[in-house]
Amino acid sequence: MKKVVIVGGGTGATLLANTLDRRRFAVTVLSNSAVHVFQPALLYVAFKHAAADVARDERRLLARHVRFVEEPVTHIDLPGHVVTTGGGRRYDYDYVVVATGVRTDPSQIPGLSDVNEEFGDYHTGVAQAQKVWARLDAFRGGTIALGQSSPIIKCPPSPVEGILLAEELMRGRGLRDRTRFVFFTPYPRPYPAEPMNQIVEPILRARGIEIMTFFDVDRIDPRARTIFSIEGEEIRYDLAIVIPPFVGADIAYEPASVRDANRLIITDRQSLRITGFDDAFAIGDATNLPTSKAGVGAHLEARVVARILSGERAAFDGRTHCPVDLGGGLGTFVIGSYTAPVVKYPPGRLSHLMKAMMARIYWLSLRGTLEPVFDWYFARTDPHRLSRTEPANRRAA
């Protein structure tokens, strides 16, 4: 039996733990929390007052043979093969998989902690997302500013989704005439990948949302209710939903050089090994891979690591497949990979339905039993294939 220690308790950690062969691997999952949040639901908690089934107990999501320990990991010694927890317990391993995600860090931007405290945010957790809803619910008119305060973001479509759902909410309440919407982004356009922006930007403009590009947040003055950019521009707001910067988990590593300046794990793009180590892997948001931080990445990467540990040849292809809620019952997907640029995937009701369906099957998907369905679906929506068959891309080509 090989000892596998998985650090983290989210999508990647859970799926990997459940899919490793129990006859060959003794799996221990170490996480600082037993609460597993379905993070995409935070968007709907914040903008649609959703409440149902947002979080479950991690112990009930893991297969019975998996050992779960609710303890924060403080140190990972890669050459020594030891993981140490805050309680001083040590776990040795044959393989370690880091799936610790990222957390929000408003302290990087002066004034942002106060703004997040006042208006909430929809990337930190359920309570913060509920606060966003409470502020929107009480809003009676003025300027709503929404955007990301750092280029590193969990779920790149989420800023656009947030402002579209906020606009839809105010329109539905008859407050649209009294509300100005300002969307700010550090990128050259509302969605950083150009093919997807060709879909998203016209929708934002059609809904009368003002767009401020290259707006890299420098500081916020909560008393003057003003956001300042590095480039010297300002946004005056009445309600600000500002997505905080993200950093990797607060875990010390030996050697320290396996993490970058944002505390993300320097990870091989194909094998998902932590740089310089054959028996250590990183998956999901915790990595520095040049792909979107999203559940689908954690899911696909967990499967690659499971196959490598089982002795198969496997490599991650950088696939992203992120659903985007465009409001009004329309959705699309951001689909790309290391070798395929993002596809221009036309909005439709089916895509919106698929996003809603994923929310329903998420908990079941963590067991790993739906993988044949996912395999079929991901092959059918392969970005190389779509770029040949989608009319929008044929025209662009």
Binding site: I153, Y187, P192, E194, M196, D216, T291, G318, T320, G336
Partner: protein, 80 residues
Amino acid sequence: MGANETMRTIVDSRGSSCPGPITDLAIAYRRAKVGDEIELWATDPGVKPDVRAWAAKTGNEIVSVEDQPDKIVVVRVVKR
């Protein structure tokens, strides 16, 4: 290295399609000091107009843009 010395940072964004190389450049830019040079490696051809627009907006200078044989675009910008 002293606090006043400038640095050259290499940002390897090859293979990035979403969110894309411009996001990696923006991350490096936040960390850069005046006078620093950032060298961005990318395979996405859209990086060229993006970096030009970004430099114009932020008042940075593009030192060079090169198409290298393996299709990698090398762009250097100087934070002013």
